[in-house]
């Protein structure tokens, strides 16, 4: 069987494409498949899905949001919509409003519980306390000790305020 695209070489790759509910079968040689392959990857990816989710819960006019740029790396929200990726670690703070509902949607949670790196710019002691409190709260909820959970929640909020929202 010869390649459907170049018609010259032997077809060794067999692709099934679904476009507008139409199933198309393609028989391609290695070179043409490679070209076709990169083209196909670009058709649809994770970034398209993320872009769809990313405007959820946005309270500001989308056009104005899209133009906002990260002062550290110059990445705009528009860029995020296009690529589904962020520009640098600082972007998280800049696009916090848009990212919070998105992260919740992806992970079912928008709070990190887990490892803390050895070196961080902020005061590690507060961070560690905060983590311990969060873990304690999770445990209390699991054990159905709701009064304890509420007490811990208030303490967490207090500490988070102190960290000016970064925490």
């Amino acid at each position: 069987m010869l390649c459907d695209i170049c018609g010259a070489k032997e077809a060794t790759v067999h692709l099934t494409e679904i476009i507008n509910d139409q199933v198309t079968k393609l028989n391609l040689c290695e070179e043409c498949a490679k070209e076709k392959g990169t083209e196909m990857e670009e058709h649809f990816g994770l970034s398209d899905l993320l872009a769809g989710l990313s405007d959820m819960g946005a309270t500001i006019e989308p056009e104005a949001v899209a133009a906002v740029k990260c002062p550290n790396c110059g990445f705009s929200y528009q860029d995020f919509r296009k690529t589904g990726r962020l520009g640098c670690s600082e972007c998280y703070e800049v696009f916090k409003k848009q990212l919070t509902p998105l992260l919740k949607r992806i992970h079912g949670s928008d709070r990190h519980i887990g490892k803390i790196p050895l070196k961080i710019g902020k005061t590690p002691k507060d961070l560690i306390t905060l983590q311990e409190l969060r873990m304690g709260m999770e445990k209390a909820i699991q054990m159905e000790e709701f009064e304890e959970a509420a007490r811990l929640r208030d303490k967490i909020r207090e500490l988070e305020k102190k960290g000016k929202g970064d925490a």
Binding site: E10, T12, E30, L46, L50, N72, C73, F75, D79, T83, G84, R85, L86, G87, C88, S89, E90, Y92, E93, L99, L102, L103, I106, H107, G108, S109, D110, R111, H112, I113, G114, K115, I116, P117, L118, K119, I120, G121, K122, D126, L127, L130, Q131, M135, E138, E160, G163, D166, A167
Partner: protein, 348 residues
């Protein structure tokens, strides 16, 4: 140590040792890390990329774990060598693209690898043979801690480790296991089992081929969410679910031997016969047949064949490995012939 030395050794996932290695081929953990304030690799300019590479390289060289490792600049590698590393599960296919300023660190045993300047500045990976996910976590945790003595990571107390893609934020941990589920596929139960798995927050994909039409009955299962629970909980959750899939596969294998013994035995020996006599064979057909033989070995149908040889053939028959063994570039048709030669030789 040189890249070509790898060809002479069995990578971790080929060994076929470790707990439940009849069904779980390998366990893998991956952590994504980024340097604080530096643009992520896809957004950084050349100067920044070079700087990131130099900083990470310096950190790697200062750790006990990785000081004897092989550091490869992707741009210096041939196309075949790059694919060879992908086939060995040491790096992603994405890492072969735009190779300037990208590097790969591999420890001599192929247990640890670090991709530098992939989507994130660091992608640390630990591979273990068999069902050993918690051990893979323990090792990666230790390496990450050691590296972090020399690096300041992008991190927020609220969101944890900050990654290029929000789907990895938080712990930035992905735990995955490679499963071989021939009996579930044979009896048409995979759809049901894997659907249930997906509902419990795990991703399932075919290892070779696309979606659930995985060729050769190999599946990769990993956690979807990386934020909201501690690392150990994420790993524990995967282990619990995988344990159930394992026992389902085992029960089905036993049932197959009871009810459909002739059909299974027939299939296994036909697969063996084809592999022993074929003179032209594609990669996909090879994977499917080797998978059937692997089941035959596990069920005691094929007696004088080492499972490790089956695993070894799974990797050696892939395109880049064949070309490395031959020492030259081969067209797809030439590979199909060489592949058949190699299999006949090994199964003699």
């Amino acid at each position: 140590m040189k890249l070509d030395d790898l060809l002479q050794q069995d990578s971790e996932w080929v060994k076929g040792t470790g707990p439940n290695s009849n069904i779980v081929m390998s366990s893998r953990t991956r952590l994504a890390r980024n340097l604080d304030k530096f643009p992520f690799s896809n957004w950084a300019n050349k100067k920044q990329l070079a700087e990131i590479l130099a900083i990470v390289e310096g950190a790697v060289r200062s750790t006990n774990f990785l000081k004897n490792s092989l550091l490869l600049k992707i741009k210096d590698l041939s196309e075949v060598d790059r694919l060879f590393l992908v086939e060995r599960h040491l790096m992603s296919l994405d890492h072969t693209k735009n190779p300037e300023y990208k590097a790969l660190v591999i420890d001599p045993k192929e247990v640890v690898s670090v991709m530098i300047n992939e989507e994130d500045h660091l992608r640390i990976q630990v591979l273990q043979s068999g069902f050993n996910l918690m051990e893979a976590w323990r090792i990666i945790d230790e390496i990450d801690t050691e590296l972090s003595k020399h690096l300041t990571y992008g991190y927020s107390a609220r969101w944890g480790y900050l990654t290029a893609c929000p789907t990895n934020t938080g712990t930035a941990l992905r735990g995955s296991v490679m499963l071989h589920l021939p009996a579930l596929v044979f009896t048409g139960q995979t759809g049901k089992v894997l659907q249930a798995t997906a509902k419990l927050g795990l991703n399932v994909r075919g290892l070779y081929g696309e979606g659930t039409e995985a060729s050769g009955n190999f599946f990769q299962v990993s956690n979807q969410a990386s934020m909201g629970r501690p690392e150990v909980d994420i790993i524990d959750n995967i282990e619990r679910i995988i344990n159930q899939i394992i026992s389902r596969e085992e029960t089905t294998q036993k049932a197959l031997l009871g009810k459909n013994k002739e059909a299974v035995v027939d299939r296994v020996w036909r697969a063996y016969g084809t592999l022993k006599s074929a003179h032209i064979i594609t990669s996909n057909e090879t994977i499917a047949l080797l998978s059937t033989i692997r089941l035959g070995v596990d069920l005691g149908i094929v007696k004088n064949l080492d499972k490790m040889l089956v695993n070894e053939l799974l990797i050696l028959t892939q395109p880049a490995h064949l070309q490395k063994l031959e020492g030259k570039l081969l067209s797809a048709n030439e590979r199909d012939v060489k592949r058949a030669d190699l299999i006949r030789e090994k199964l003699k």
